[in-house]
């Protein structure tokens, strides 16, 4: 009987140690998280949103020509309502298109697709630019 109680005590202290070990791991994770956030907060030179745009290949789908565009926000702040303008110059005339992204968060990318009636031929024929954004 004495032995069995001793065994129970041992297993209880094992359980306790396990709980403390789990707690310690969690403590380290939370401290690293807070440290990371404070590091970000004190980092200087946060840039306002600015964008890089890459155009994908042109694919003929149905009667239109679809071109995927990828917008990347290179700044350190989120931009909302990002408007991307695309103008296709062809002999038959100009085609202007607009894409709106609800949000392009900092250092993140968003995808969209433009649809033209005429074959752009190459991506170079399409002029792409971000014309506006608002702060979220």
């Amino acid at each position: 009987m004495n032995a069995s109680r001793k065994r129970r005590d041992v297993s209880a202290s094992h359980g306790k140690r396990f709980e403390w070990a789990v707690g310690a791991v969690a403590f380290v994770i939370v401290v690293v998280l807070l440290g990371y956030l404070l590091g970000l907060g004190t980092a200087s030179g946060r840039q306002p949103p600015h964008f890089s745009i890459t155009a994908g290949d042109v694919v003929r789908v149905g009667t239109g020509y679809q071109m995927q565009v990828v917008v990347t926000n290179e700044g350190d702040e989120t931009a909302a309502d990002v408007t991307l303008r695309a103008v296709l110059h062809r002999d038959a005339g100009e085609e202007a298109r607009e894409l709106r992204f609800d949000f392009v968060p900092q250092r993140s990318t968003r995808r969209g697709t433009l649809i033209f009636e005429q074959d752009p031929g190459s991506r170079a024929a399409v002029r792409l630019s971000v014309s506006s954004y608002v702060e979220p």
Partner: protein, 245 residues
């Protein structure tokens, strides 16, 4: 949930593989949950599996009926869209179905005598976090809030979450169950229960956000911020889980 637009949209925008993974992940969770709260005092694992499947079936039928009544599913929609809309509702609905007993049902004679093990405690926290996280994760507000926050706001929110959680755990812990007593120093409970609970809640938040595709194409900083925002309600859910279950 059934009346949330974002949930309907997720039904057809979500990656089907992630949806399947979610339902698969949900099954063992339901079995374990049934073991603890369940419809009836079960004798064997087999009965828990049956109960879990029953909860899944019930929630599927309920979700379908409600979605049809709301006009969220109807003719003219693809099978994939309809299946997605139902499947995404099934997870919170089936957890809810199992919880209904502990919330609405009468207390059994063995109620209150149950001694939770440490692992069981952590499991209940995970279910609570998943349940509450699931309820708010689809909303657009989660994303908008995380976009507006600076790292300072995020750090403050982490501290606030921990405080709310600890308050819950300390208040609820005394209701019996664990060996938490008024004599336990606050830092002991904080390290052994609150911190692991918070990390579990964060992990659940991360998983739910990933499932919903909220983290796709997002920068690391953004992933962290969104997880912290969702971690606030889900950590409260984790801490309150013992109160409910």
């Amino acid at each position: 949930m059934l009346m949330t637009m974002e949930m309907w949209w997720l039904g057809f925008t979500i990656d089907p593989l992630r949806l399947v993974l979610l339902v698969i992940f949900c099954l063992p969770l339901l079995v374990l949950l049934s073991r603890r709260v369940g419809f009836e005092a079960t004798r064997g694992w087999w009965e828990d599996v049956v109960d879990a499947l029953f909860a899944l079936g019930i929630s599927m039928v309920t979700s379908t009926v409600c979605l049809v009544a709301f006009g969220a599913i109807g003719p003219g929609m693809s099978a994939r869209e309809i299946a997605g809309k139902i499947a995404i509702q099934v997870v919170p609905a089936s957890i809810g179905a199992l919880l209904a007993r502990s919330q609405l049902g009468s207390d059994g004679p063995d109620e209150g005598k149950r001694q939770e093990s440490y692992g069981g405690e952590m499991f209940l926290m995970a279910v609570g976090a998943l349940f509450l996280g699931f309820n708010v994760a689809p909303t657009e507000e989660m994303i908008v809030i995380s976009h507006r926050m600076t790292p300072w706001h995020a750090a403050a929110l982490v501290v606030l979450s921990l405080m709310v959680m600890h308050g819950f755990i300390f208040a609820v812990g005394f209701r019996g169950g664990t060996e938490l007593t008024p004599q336990t120093p606050w830092w002991s409970a904080f390290i052994r229960f609150t911190l692991p609970g918070y990390v579990i809640a964060m992990a659940m938040s991360l998983y739910v956000l990933w499932t919903f595709g909220r983290l796709d194409d997002a920068a690391f900083e953004q992933v962290i911020a969104t997880t912290i925002v969702l971690g606030f309600p889900s950590s409260a859910g984790a801490a309150a889980a013992r109160l409910i279950l």
